[in-house]
């Protein structure tokens, strides 16, 4: 298993959010975490990325135990993370955002930017524009592009389609499929759960920090209980 987050227990202060939660992702696979609000989805992502100290459990990445590594060191190992909010530098240009994203990989900055412009042509067009002036969907593309600048082997996305228009949701999902086809594993949290599960290989339904259902995306979509409780029927 490429990413194997095993039996994670943790939370903020005395509050326990993750309750024996496990998440696995294979190479080149798209995995999706869904669940009700406050289920611990974003917390699980933070724990995997090292932004939350675990009380119990381990995170294995590419065969190595990284449980005690800092987020910076995890980036060097090949993890990229796009948080739900505050995921771009709004007072900087698109190009500056991408350049900053490439801090671990100075030799490849130019070639990486070229690849990201191929993936998101709108960013090439707007490269000199301040990110704060861009629309929500374009900002998300900057955020994903910035994360890709480190050449991650695993890209983690926390609600990449929140607040973007339907046409852009489709576009973003298509881009995500393309990224996965390039061999990068994707782990994402999504409230557009139906669409996300449709394009996913595996889905994890979390409830109160525990794994409630784990199965192939399509199988979860067909599960009546999952549909009723988490997908709006």
């Amino acid at each position: 298993m490429f990413l194997h987050a095993k039996n994670m227990v943790g939370g903020y202060g005395e509050t326990t959010i993750l309750n024996n939660c496990s998440i696995n992702v294979k190479q080149g696979e798209i995995a999706v975490i869904v669940g009700p609000n406050g289920a611990g989805k974003s917390t699980a992502m933070k724990a995997i990325f090292g932004m939350l100290d675990l009380r119990q459990g381990n995170v294995f990445f590419d065969g190595e135990d990284i449980t005690y590594l800092s987020p910076q060191d995890r980036v060097k190992k090949g993890m990229g993370f796009v948080p739900q909010t505050n995921n771009v530098f709004t007072s900087m240009t698109v190009l500056e955002n991408l350049e900053i994203g490439g801090f671990t990989n100075l030799d490849k900055i130019k070639s990486n930017i070229k690849e990201i412009f191929n993936l998101f042509p709108i960013l090439e067009e707007k490269q000199k524009q301040i990110v704060g002036e861009l629309s929500g969907g374009q900002r998300q593309q900057v955020a994903v592009g910035r994360a890709l600048m480190t050449n991650p082997k695993l890209l983690m996305l926390d609600e990449p389609t929140a607040g973007v228009s339907p046409i852009v949701v489709k576009e973003l999902f298509e881009k995500i499929i393309n990224i996965a086809k390039a061999g990068i594993a994707i782990l994402m949290v999504e409230q557009n759960a139906k669409q996300a599960l449709e394009i996913s290989d595996n889905g994890f339904v979390l409830v109160q920090g525990e794994n409630k259902f784990t199965d192939k995306g399509i199988t979860l979509l067909e599960n009546r209980e999952v549909r009723k409780a988490f997908l709006g029927g």
Binding site: Y12, G13, T15, G35, P36, N37, G38, A39, K41, S42, T43, Q84, T85, E133, L134, S135, G136, G137, Q138, E159, A162, G163, V164, S165, P166, I167, V168, V169, K170, E171, Q191, A193, K194, K228, A229, F230, L231, G232, G233
Partner: protein
């Protein structure tokens, strides 16, 4: 109820809102959709008194409110939620809700000395109301948690909850559904319908979830590039080629 007349707002060279004219009818649940960057939130900010329009005017129940501040509009019954939740992070969920009603007796030092009973009665009333709102939004188990520690979706629910603490005439909802689980969103939709039918609230809502919009809104207004593209029932909007091209996709 609200008449928006030839309203424009420019930021430097960017025409965020350009010559928008539309009506929000009393008792309606009016939807506002459009691509990112179409000017929807800017229009909300103008109606809610965060910006004054560069040109044009906003009429609310016959009165020109274009230059009123947001607190003055709140007193008139115009409430809004934000796309990115604006919670008081160091206050608990209950406290965030209880502080919504304005002119509370306990707000002045003088009254904290001489009007204790009145304050207690008011606070009990607000606390009861807050409990009802929290139960409705499935936030009751988090009543004493600091709002800053809520998840993204829970903060959006708290945002909606704040508008339920006072009697509003019109509520502007800015993407209340983004980041909210679909099953809960369905329940929120039902509450919007109830507030609309039983309490007479008018809603004007920006939303990207087209199913959510379809189940609630009539009419729906579509904006692109700062202007109104079209307006009508969801069924006709969904089949409008221009809307499909600009917003919905195939």
């Amino acid at each position: 109820m609200i008449e928006i007349r030839n309203v424009s707002k420019h930021f430097g060279g960017i025409k965020a809102v350009e010559n928008v004219t539309l009506d929000i009818h009393k008792g309606s649940i009016t939807g506002l959709i459009g691509p990112n960057g179409a000017g929807k939130t800017t229009l909300f900010n103008i109606i809610a008194g965060f910006y004054s329009p560069d040109f044009g005017e906003i009429i609310f129940e016959g009165e020109n409110i274009s230059t009123l501040r947001s607190d003055e509009l709140f007193k008139k019954g115009i409430l809004r939620t934000f796309q990115i939740a604006h919670e008081f992070e160091n206050l608990t969920v209950r406290e965030n809700l209880m502080m919504v009603p304005d002119n509370q007796t306990g707000e002045t030092i003088f009254h904290t000395w001489i009007s204790r009973k009145k304050i207690r009665v008011e606070e009990e009333k607000n606390s009861k109301k807050a409990a009802e709102v929290m139960e409705f939004l499935s936030l009751d188990h988090l009543a004493n948690e600091k709002a800053g520690s809520l998840s993204g979706g829970q903060k959006k629910l708290l945002e909606l909850g704040r508008t339920m603490m006072v009697d509003a005439k019109i509520v502007l909802l800015d993407e209340v559904g983004a980041g909210v689980n679909k099953t809960l969103l369905k329940k929120i939709g039902e509450s919007i319908k109830t507030l609309n039918k039983e309490m007479g609230y008018t809603f004007f809502m920006i939303e990207h979830d087209i199913e959510f919009i379809s189940s609630l809104c009539d009419p729906v207004i579509v904006m692109t590039e700062g202007s109104v593209l079209t307006e009508g029932k969801v069924s006709s909007i969904r089949n409008d080629e221009r809307v499909i091209e600009a917003y919905l996709g195939n």
